[in-house]
Symmetry: C2
Subunit: 429 residues, 2 copies
């Protein structure tokens, strides 16, 4: 094993960067593969800001590209974030010089991963991003390295801790989405602008990365279907619970002969299912392989400690001298998989309707479903709780998604249905 | 990435070896790191035995050492099994020549891992054994590679699928240990001589390996405390269920300032706990790190497909050219950790007593416990079901193990206690 000292340049000293500096400060002999890792250069927005670790002895760079290309940087660690701008410029600059890059930037890898992988492999530079998905829980390594002796057919899980925290809190406290979100923002669990999390875009970045690793294909963020959490009401959480389910924001990628389906959407998971039991800021993932079968992995999805540990593990991987494809297969000729036509998908659904409390309503709804060949699995009508009609909920058996959507459209048009129906898919888990 | 062809020599063509041959036959272009892997030589007990894949075109070796040292073998794959004998001789011979070794042999690594790691690292040869623990579920890779940026304080889980299958079947069918074991043997889920599984030795091999990876120490099989499943009665499974627990064979390794505690024993896990919900032949593991927190991983622990996939992933790792320590830290100077004195351990326990149905018994039992400063958490007395007294069960709060054992010894000597008490620990999970 090499006794070399690796000089690390760290761009971005926020939560993850600060956590990494702290880790290397308390473990200055970090030498997992024989060599030693030492931070020599840093770059951040403000040089003078108070930090937990002293950076005064390190080389300071105002420009991340300058740090990435510095002759003193053996490994460039990008913790700036953002799919474009300085993060992308600096990563490209490092790879172009054949320098190993470690990043926690999910947006960058999800949106530009194929081009970056080509550059990395052409220059023989490792490009690692364990911290981009599930924080310290090594989903990336599992898919890229441990599953190469198998053929992965699907990955599905909970990849956004903020959404999962909000859903858990709504259920536990009986408060509305807006109230819990506001509290999460006060506590720093949610960003001031929560769109990336709440809208499902953060989870989509992550599942796009995992799908590329799982299927050995180019990451295709544009091909992902994304539905966020913003329409989930407390009433749905309660009614789903009455039916034996819990609502989760599920990210999934499935491969079939028809192509690939990469999605993020709220979904009902049975209460005794491991996804339903993944609460608070935890993340969880199922990996299904043809030979291995089903692997489940659960752990903290974010936080300075776990994410910094993932960055450190990537640095260690660079130090071992391993060369392997960025997305499980060589980047040259990495296939782009066709997105499956949603109309061809089968699935079960939960439907909530607000209807007039009068005779014949249920008959009309169930007839409409029958005409679209959607059959009902369970049905629940609660006593009316206000003057604006009564809520009824039902779950369906598996049906083509096109027919489900047709049925929902037609039910919405029934005179006794007072509000647009709320449809939430039931997780295929 | 290297375009090299790696010639693989496979010793042992049983379940795992056969699975590997089948995998490479259906995926002849297996080239995860750019290079290609091709089996060129094999060795097994019988050359003529019918096999699923045709081996007639491959070089045949009667002696695994000859295959290991053949000039045509670039990577030696040892799937013979057994801690000594030909498996050990062949692995040593390959490593001595600096050849990479991939093995599924848990006994070999648990019992001779420290010496083999020294040899491997001295010769610069990778020594990989993902398939030795949890089959296709990559526990070894997670601990060796993903956790290097953290400090692991404990690992605990279910590592023997045969025992877990037997416990699940006893509970589901209400049959005795002996009946279920006999059936498992008929179905091929348990060996003709089930001692390794039932006695806890297989799980002990595995947790010893995981503890070495987790703590960066020499594997110490002799230091493991091992208690098997052979004394578990159906009655305990039922009574534990009444108290809200399920009995599992739990393998655990904990590190503290006092040293390390590596154990296998039956233990009660709360019904809603992921270990309690790991049923049949599944395996599961908790990894607890100071920075990352708690990671849970669950998957198939055995079988030709999963285990062969793990061997293939190790072959891929060799092909990447990575060099890293066998047990997370360099083998030279790998610490041997002191085993914690069991007397200093704290824990909770389940106690089942068969007592005479007469006044004063419970008072005598609870007084004895109080005198040893063991306090009772819950208590259950069922109506007498036969003439030989009544069973009472209780669970304790945490107490020093020495005091628990003292109390059990004293309770056994009480005149109204009819059989030796049955003590089963409650999992610290």
């Amino acid at each position: 094993m090499s006794k070399k000292t690796w000089r690390i340049g760290v761009a971005g000293l926020g939560t993850v960067g600060g956590g990494l500096m702290k880790f290397l400060a308390v473990q200055p002999d970090f030498a997992p593969a024989g060599g030693r890792a030492v931070v020599t250069g840093v770059c951040a927005r403000s040089r003078s800001r108070h930090r937990e670790t002293d950076i005064s002895a390190l080389n300071w760079f105002d420009d991340p590209v300058a740090l990435a290309t510095s002759a003193d940087t053996d490994i460039f660690v990008e913790l700036i974030g953002g799919s474009d701008g300085p993060a992308k410029a600096a990563v490209e600059a490092a790879l172009a010089l054949g320098k190993p890059v470690v990043t926690a930037n999910k947006a960058l890898i999800a949106e530009h991963g194929a081009a970056l992988a080509l550059l990395a492999e052409a220059k023989g530079a490792p490009l690692l991003f364990e911290a981009a998905v599930m924080g310290g829980t090594p989903a990336v390594k599992m898919l890229r390295e441990a599953m190469v002796g198998d053929e992965v057919v699907s990955v599905a899980g909970i990849l956004n801790g903020t959404c999962n925290y909000i859903l858990s809190e709504m259920e536990a406290s009986g408060r509305s989405f807006a109230e819990v979100l506001a509290e999460a923002q006060r506590l720093g669990y949610a960003e001031a602008d929560p769109t990336m999390d709440i809208g499902g875009f953060d989870a989509a970045h992550k599942i796009v990365i995992l799908s590329a690793l799982a299927f050995g294909c180019a990451p295709d963020y544009a091909g992902a279907e994304i539905e966020g959490l913003d329409q989930i009401e407390l009433l749905d959480i309660k009614l789903a619970g009455d039916l034996g389910y819990r609502i989760k924001l599920v990210a999934s990628a499935e491969r079939s002969d028809a192509g690939v389906s990469v999605r993020v959407h709220p979904a009902l998971a049975p209460l005794d299912h491991p996804l339903a039991q993944t609460s608070g800021a935890l993340n969880a993932l199922f990996i299904e392989g043809r030979r291995i079968g089903r692997i489940f992995i659960q752990g903290p999805g974010a936080g300075a400690g776990p994410t910094a540990a993932a960055v450190a593990a990537d640095i260690a991987d660079v130090m071992t001298g391993a060369t392997r494809p960025v997305f499980q297969r060589p980047a040259v000729g990495l296939p782009r998989l066709t997105a499956v036509d949603p109309a061809h998908r089968q699935g079960r659904a939960y439907l909530r309707l607000q209807v007039r409390d009068e005779a014949g309503v249920i008959a009309a709804v169930s007839e409409t479903l029958a005409e679209e060949r959607v059959s009902i699995d369970s049905f629940l009508q609660k006593p009316a709780h206000d003057a604006e009609g009564v809520p009824i909920v039902l779950t369906t058996h598996a049906a083509p998604e096109a027919m489900l959507l047709n049925a929902v459209r037609r039910i919405a048009a029934l005179p006794s249905v007072l509000q647009p129906p709320r449809m939430i898919r039931i997780a295929r888990v």
